[in-house]
Symmetry: C2
Subunit: 420 residues, 2 copies
Amino acid sequence: MMRPTRNGAQLITNTQGSAPGTGPQPADFTDVRATNLAVVLRFVRENAPCSRADIAASTGLNKATVSSLVADLIDRRLLRETGLTENRVGRPATMLVLDGSPYAAVGIEVNVDYLTAVAVDLKGEALLSWRRAFPGGSASSGQAVAGIAGVARRVVTRMTKEARQVLGLTVAVPGLVDLNGSVRLAPNMGWRDVDLAGDLAKALRDPGFPVLADNDANLGALAELRFGPHVGVRDLVYLTGEIGVGAGLVLDGRLRRGGAGFSGEIGHIEIVPGGPPCHCGRRGCLEVVAGLGALLDRTVPGGVSPAELEPEIDEVVQRAEAGDPVVLDLLDTLAGNLGRGVGIVANLLNPEVVVLGGYYVKLAPWILARAEQEMLGRSLAPAGGGCRLVVSGLGYGAAALGAAARVLDSVDSGRLPAPA
Amino acid sequence: MMRPTRNGAQLITNTQGSAPGTGPQPADFTDVRATNLAVVLRFVRENAPCSRADIAASTGLNKATVSSLVADLIDRRLLRETGLTENRVGRPATMLVLDGSPYAAVGIEVNVDYLTAVAVDLKGEALLSWRRAFPGGSASSGQAVAGIAGVARRVVTRMTKEARQVLGLTVAVPGLVDLNGSVRLAPNMGWRDVDLAGDLAKALRDPGFPVLADNDANLGALAELRFGPHVGVRDLVYLTGEIGVGAGLVLDGRLRRGGAGFSGEIGHIEIVPGGPPCHCGRRGCLEVVAGLGALLDRTVPGGVSPAELEPEIDEVVQRAEAGDPVVLDLLDTLAGNLGRGVGIVANLLNPEVVVLGGYYVKLAPWILARAEQEMLGRSLAPAGGGCRLVVSGLGYGAAALGAAARVLDSVDSGRLPAPA
DNA sequence: TAGAGTTAGTTCGTCTAACGACCAAACAAA
DNA sequence: TTTGTTTGGTCGTTAGACGAACTAACTCTA
């Protein structure tokens, strides 16, 4: 059991949604309550099933306070009492778990050719997982928003039928998304200045829950943090492995989105000066020397179509498994370039973990070791500053899952649903 | 006057010094008090002189609460009442200012050839500024620590003579400093695994104030944030311009040190594959293509000695001013390479500002425009994602100043001296 | 089977500190 | 002088964490 770890020097800080430059906000008692409710909620999430006494002992909160907080969370239907402990000395404890049934968090990932929607309960367990073709690349942004809204409505209806209240909806987009959830630039989608979060909220007509949008890599990082095997990790970088390459940065336990929300654009860092041309107009970008487009261009005859990405990757995997020297060589080169990109991240940010997502997962057997070696060789800090390069276990749905995780994060940081 | 900006969703978060992975700490009333004391202190810092009524109106705190908080801060000798307002309708207000006299924050920067010590008061005004030769590169780490301790003792004695209490001491080191203030690697100093903060605290024999150590670029970033013209900026990157090049990262308003404390090592990112060899064993590092060593190697006959850096830079400046085409060409190349490094930072972190420090300041007329152009041309986000490249106005003492700022930051975030 | 011991959770009184309402003080303008 | 305005303090209220005492419900032991 954990020991109490109270610490005298704490400040109440606004954790989300505050305008930049407003400075720290003063605190009052409701903030104390919100903080402690969130502490208990998170403790139960990580330690369920557990008793009130466990919570008190581990958090350092007073037993009476914990009882009050738990009662509040039960009122809000966030926690639920389950059975009693048995065969133990002393009074049996009533165990607490997260209540999975009353709420849902919705995440949607849009991409050039497909759209993924997931809903999870408070525990993070999947309630729904749809994947369907979506003409994101060819439709106008207005049509795309309408399509997303349609899917969102259907998800919400489904959740309502299950008697669940939707706590929020987040959309993951491959592109630059500003801090207001407006897509400033999404080259693959052909979007520019689309107020996705706003338009979607309008299309859903005052949905009664927050609608947000963010970059797919950012949300992938959140998914790793919540659903991946990274207990206690506070500095993590997630790399998407699609046609493009993007990074999501979690530093000191929170997503860092940059001044305008455009952080993580690792794909257009120059890795090979004078290298192959990139659609962005420059040459040798990480994306063209370590993304999947270039790999497929050279292995699959007739060029790459986004809609056929998965079978084409499978073909690469098959040829690699068969020992095709051309493919193995290309993968080794890709791994080297990827490792150089990871090395940049390791030197600049010193994360504890860099997670490879997307199609990198399938290619991991042929690229992971080389990329890690390359990264370690380029890190100034001994042993890469403790940085590990690992493969995501979340599969393709990471961004959508992260979008849902974004909603749960918001709950975990104090935005609780009102009591009934 | 600012408008009240209370925000319902706040959490009390541990702001510093907590072990990683311990998760969020519960809050009690003392945290509310500490938070609000810090809010008032910071408000007065940024708006002095101001009245209690101003504070209440701008922060949204209750007038009665503000009065109580101000009384507390006056007890602690952090604030001081100054005169009354005149010629205004209504009762004249008693104005409040930071009390500059009772405290001092000490910062020391060590380098290969020199040592800088500064002390500032609560307002950030300089009380003392020493710069002296220091055989950091040639002495053993033990001798160096003893030397630093000697200087520190003299600074403390001086402050004590002025009847000031030292609130803390921070040492800036060019190298990898872990989260405990232990220097893991400082190639230029020839140090490895030197527990600088610990040894120094020991040498000062229970000094009664915290002794910390951190990387010079990190502390330079803090100096810019506090003393530079960057009001409201929450995402800032500072680049040191010495023989080596390091970065200090401020993201979302706080220094981000990475998982082990080794963030910001931009100097050993490969910028020119197959470029000139670097002392780290690799080639084409930013440090050798945009640092000052390479520049001086090619402009100053007979190689570079750290002790002669300043006059040698001056010679470069003179030759540039005279229009020496060789020097201008070298500076242009350096600027291009620097811009490529800044472009990486802009793409990955999307800061609002990148500040060039150290000797880059003197070279700015010949490198700033080119570097900025290069950065903008490499940023995926339009207009560099709003990133500006500017020159530091703080001069060479930035790291020492930042070390002192580190102490003030600690006060600003709630670690207040006890009342008398 | 009757304590004795142990653990869980509640009740109740205390205390901290923010808040709202009110009030006196001190000025300018009429 | 009167009126209005602004400042800053007092006082009672209130939210909510905390500590101690208490009850509940079990196991263990004699």
